[in-house]
Structures are given as C-alpha cells and as structure tokens.
C-alpha cells in the first residue's frame, strides 16, 4: 500500500447539512489544493472548546470533490465531539490531521469482471461513496448494498446512484428489502469477485462469513476506539493472525483473512 504524506490542516467549513436527525454532512475546503487521499482512509478531527473531549475524533473520508476542492465527512451525532462538529457554521475552522491509515484495495477493471459489492450499514456507508467514485473512474461499476434501521437512516442514496447500482435493506421494511443486508436476495443469485464492507461489527462479521463460505475476497473497515491515529499509542489494537495490530496504522481496512472472525 502506498504511503501518502500526512498533514495537519486548518480546513474551512463550507457547509454543514443535516442529512437526518442524527447525521450531518460536513463539507470542508482550504485555499491550497487538498492533499491526495485514498478511499477508506480517515481524518482525525480536533474538537475545540469542549471540556469533556480531549482527544481527536477519527472520522472516515466520505468523499473528495476535486473540482470543488472539498473534503466531505458524514458524521453520526453521538457524543460531545460529534455534537460540536454538527454545530459548526460555514466559515468556521476545523483542524484536521489527514490522510490516515490504509484504504480499500481498488479493484482493476480486468479483475472486476465478476463485480464488486460494497456493503454498508448505518453511518458506515460513508467511506463507500468515495470508494465507489474511484471504482467508477476506472471503469468498474460497483453494486452498493446499503442497510439501515429505517428509510430515514438510508443516507445519501442519490449520491451513491451516480457511481453504481444501489440496493437497500431496512430492518422495518420501510424501504428496499426487509431485513439485514445479509438477507438481501442479490446474495443468493449473483456472483461477486470482491466484497468491501463498513458498518456495525455484527453486520461486517455476517458479511465476512458469507464471503468466507463462498471463497470471495473480502475487506472490512474497523473503527476501534482510537487516540493518536498514527500507530504510536497502541490503544486501538485488533487481535489478528499476526497478534495485536493498530487499526489506525495497519487498517482501518483489513482483508478478513487477517482477522480472527471465524466464530
């Protein structure tokens, strides 16, 4: 995996849009061109002026719009740090360390003849948008399989539709097929060469089981609790076939063969 230079940048908020009650889409820019970033990499955001938050917050890269020189972050508002982010206004500054970690493997057109399936759940759909865009740019049309609790929790569907076929599931049946992503009918009548997934751990484990049983290559993006984001503090470790490794530096994207998910 190539290693991109990391930066600490004061980015300027261009907009903060409420996507749904619990999610915001933050678009950031800066005067100089944004540095190169890969799909699946993440940003560590400094939270300013909050007495209860001390550490940076890791947020996945949702999208990079080269023409607009914009970085998009799709944020679930869950605590004091993300609440601070959601309250930012256009023109405010956000201090970001980026790009961090290793991204998803970009399947080439030749090896993608059997198709690439991108499976997201909840706010975990975020990094799949930029991944889909990159695949589309090199002539691979991915299939997005996106799951959520309800219709309202399905995020940014119109954006995903720009880069591939979009299939959905909801737990309450309010949109798409009813159930979990792993219940979707596409899985029983189409073949894929590669599955890439991001979302809640139980969902990713179920996707990994499906892939393993059929011998399909599979990558999953983990989100263990982190401090430094650089592989220095050794807090975000995942137990793998090579022992404890830092999710921030060795991941967040792992081939499932490295993970101890055989249960």
């Amino acid at each position: 995996m190539e290693s991109l230079k990391k930066y600490v940048l004061d980015l300027t908020v261009r907009s903060v849009t409420k996507v749904h009650a619990r999610y915001v889409l933050i678009k950031l820019t800066c005067e100089a061109p944004l540095p190169p970033m890969l799909p699946g990499q993440f940003v560590e955001v400094r939270v300013d002026g909050s007495p209860s938050t001390f550490l940076r917050r890791p947020i996945s890269i949702n999208f990079v719009d080269d023409k607009q020189n914009e970085l998009w972050l799709l944020v679930a508002v869950v605590g004091d740090g993300t609440r601070w982010m959601a309250a930012l206004k256009a023109g405010d500054s956000m201090n970001c360390m980026l790009p961090l970690g290793n991204g998803f493997t970009l399947q080439s057109r030749e090896s993608a003849s059997q198709g690439v399936l991108l499976v997201g759940g909840g706010v975990g759909v975020a990094p799949l948008l930029y991944l889909g865009k990159n695949l589309s740019d090199q002539g691979v049309e991915p299939t997005f399989l996106l799951g959520a609790r309800t219709k309202d929790d399905l995020l940014m569907l119109s954006e995903f539709e720009k880069y591939g076929r979009v299939l959905t599931t909801t737990e309450d049946g309010s949109a798409g097929e009813k159930g979990f992503v792993t219940n979707h009918s596409i899985l029983s009548h189409e073949q894929f060469a590669l599955i890439q997934t991001c979302g809640p751990t139980p969902m990713m484990k179920a996707v990994a089981r499906y892939a393993r049983e059929r011998g399909i290559e599979c990558e999953a993006s983990l989100e263990n609790l982190m401090a430094c984001g650089l592989g220095a503090c050794l807090c975000c470790v995942e137990k793998t076939t090579e022992g404890h490794v830092c999710v921030c530096k060795e991941g967040p994207v792992f081939n499932i063969k490295r993970l101890l998910w055989q249960d």
Partner: protein, 302 residues
C-alpha cells in the same frame, strides 16, 4: 536566540525537549509533522527482552483533560528493535534513548546490556513504574528495595547514561528517588502515569480490559509539578519532568521547579508537532525575558 542545550549526566541534549515513551512510537510515525533532528531527545516505546502482546482491547478511556491507558508494554522485543528499528533511527541526529522494562532484575539487565551495544543509543530510561503489567513494572518502583534491586542489576551491565522513570503511585516519591540515586542512577524522570479507572454506567462495568489504567494528560500536571519540586530537594542527579505538558509555558513551569529537561507525552496525540512548538516557545520566552540560557531558569522556584 537563547542557549537551549542541557546536560543529563554525560548525555548532551541540543534542547531540553524530549518525547515520553509510548507516546511517540519510534519517532518515524511523526516524521511528516516534525523534523526529528530538532528534538532534544527521543525516548522510544517500552522495550522488553522478549516480545510482549500487551493487554486486550479496550485499552483506552478518555477523561476530562486526559486519558487512561492500559496498553501493557506491547512491543516486539529488544532483538527486533536492534535488528529492524535501530538501523532506521541511528543516522537521525537526536539523542536516542530506549525505555527498558522487564519482569525481574536480570531481565532488565539483559535487555539493557543488549541496548548498551548500540552506538547511537546514548541512554536508557528504566521503566520501574508501568502500572499496567502484573509481573514487574510498577511492582519494582513502589518500594525502595525493589527499585534499588533493579537499578543495581542494570548499573552493572549498562555503562552509558541511566535514567530511572519513577512512579507517582507511592507514598513518598522522594524516598524512591534517593534510593535509585544511591543505586547508581544518573538521572530520574517523573512522573509516569497515575493509576485510575473509568466506568461505563450503561454496561455497569469498567471500561478498560484490565479494569485499571494509567492517567495522563493536562489533568495530572499539578501532581507532576509538586513531585518534581519534592524530588529536586531530595537528590543531586538531574531530573527530567513530565506529566501533562501541552505548551511551552507548561514546560517552563517544570524547568523552574527543578527539571533539567522535559518530556512531551499525551500532547503528541492532539498536536503531533507539539515538541517543536514547545522548543520554539521556550526559546521565545527566554529571549523576551532577556535570559541567555535555559540553564538559568532551572530550579529557580523553591
């Protein structure tokens, strides 16, 4: 431009800013943000004779103005360091220091002897204060006899500058400092983390995998400053101060309380360029106050 260089025993530092073990990896992780050769000294992560897996996840809990960790000395062992990491570091012009840990005096001494052979590692920092391992670590650092036994064993087999990192989890840190000085330490560094815990009320259990962890960050600074003052009165060897330093002002407080050098720890996680900013800030303060050398402010506070 004030003079910033200081001496820790025979160890010469180009400036008093060092990195705290376990917060700066092997330095290489921070190369995109900091010119490593401008840091006074880099103390690499805790190294043991044999590889260690460390404790289970979760290992971290955020706290008001700080964090708890229970990493538990995860590292690939001293042989791996010597063969794979050291070659990448040795030509970078800073004072490289290895933090050494173990589970018995012989263990510490064997690890230290291995590091003694590395030409560009000029000192070791002996970790007798890790609160996150069962065997050894803090167990040695909380009694005078335990601390002495480790320092004596290492002193016999390690000829370069020997720094001993002290635990704040004791009744009287000055007493431990005196014991390690008598056993042959060239310097002491303090404080390691304060033992604490964090609770998850929804799950009705403790957050960290082993229940407790070490507290670091700005919340511990007042405790660290008080202990540096105490130890400065108790020993003649140089003191390296650490505990919650985020800014040059924090660093100057430690220097005035009697520290000859300081270490930046948890702050590296918030701003990876803290070390250089602190160095520049110390210089600016000295210049603004007409002080010609950093040595003039060391220990000026009673």
């Amino acid at each position: 431009m004030a003079r910033l260089d200081v001496n820790i025993g025979a160890l010469h530092l180009k400036n008093p800013v060092m990195t705290a073990s376990g917060t700066f990896g092997y330095g290489l992780e921070f190369q995109d943000f900091v010119p490593l050769d401008q840091i006074g000294g880099i103390i690499v992560k805790g190294t043991t004779l044999k590889p260690r897996e460390g404790n289970a996840y979760p290992r971290m809990a955020e706290t008001p103005m700080g964090m708890l960790n229970c990493v538990g000395l995860q590292n690939k062992g001293v042989d791996y360091f010597c063969e794979h990491i050291y070659p990448q570091l040795k030509d970078i012009d800073t004072a490289w220091i290895v933090n050494v840990s173990g589970s018995s005096p012989d263990d510490y001494a064997a690890c230290a002897a291995r590091v003694d052979a590395l030409e560009h590692v000029l000192a070791i920092e002996l970790n007798i204060s890790c609160p996150n391992v069962k065997d050894g670590g803090m167990a040695f650092g909380v009694t005078c006899a335990g601390a002495e036994s480790v320092v004596r064993a290492v002193r016999e087999r390690y000829k370069k500058t020997l720094i001993v990192k002290l635990s704040p989890n004791v009744t009287d840190i000055a007493e431990i400092a005196r014991a390690v000085e008598a056993a042959g330490a060239d310097a002491v560094s303090l404080i390691n983390t304060l033992m604490g815990t964090a609770v998850d009320i929804e799950r009705r259990r403790r957050v960290l995998s082993i229940g407790t962890g070490g507290l670091s960050g700005p919340c511990v600074k007042p405790v660290a400053l008080r202990m540096v003052l105490q130890v400065a009165k108790a020993v003649k060897v140089p003191i390296i101060g650490l505990g919650g330093i985020m800014t040059a002002k924090d660093a100057i407080e430690f220097l005035m309380c009697g520290a000859t050098a300081i270490e930046i720890g948890t702050a590296n996680f918030i701003d990876p360029a803290t070390t250089i900013k602190v160095r520049d800030g110390i210089n600016d303060w000295l210049d603004a106050h007409g002080v010609k050398s950093v040595e003039e402010i060391i220990g000026v506070i009673d």
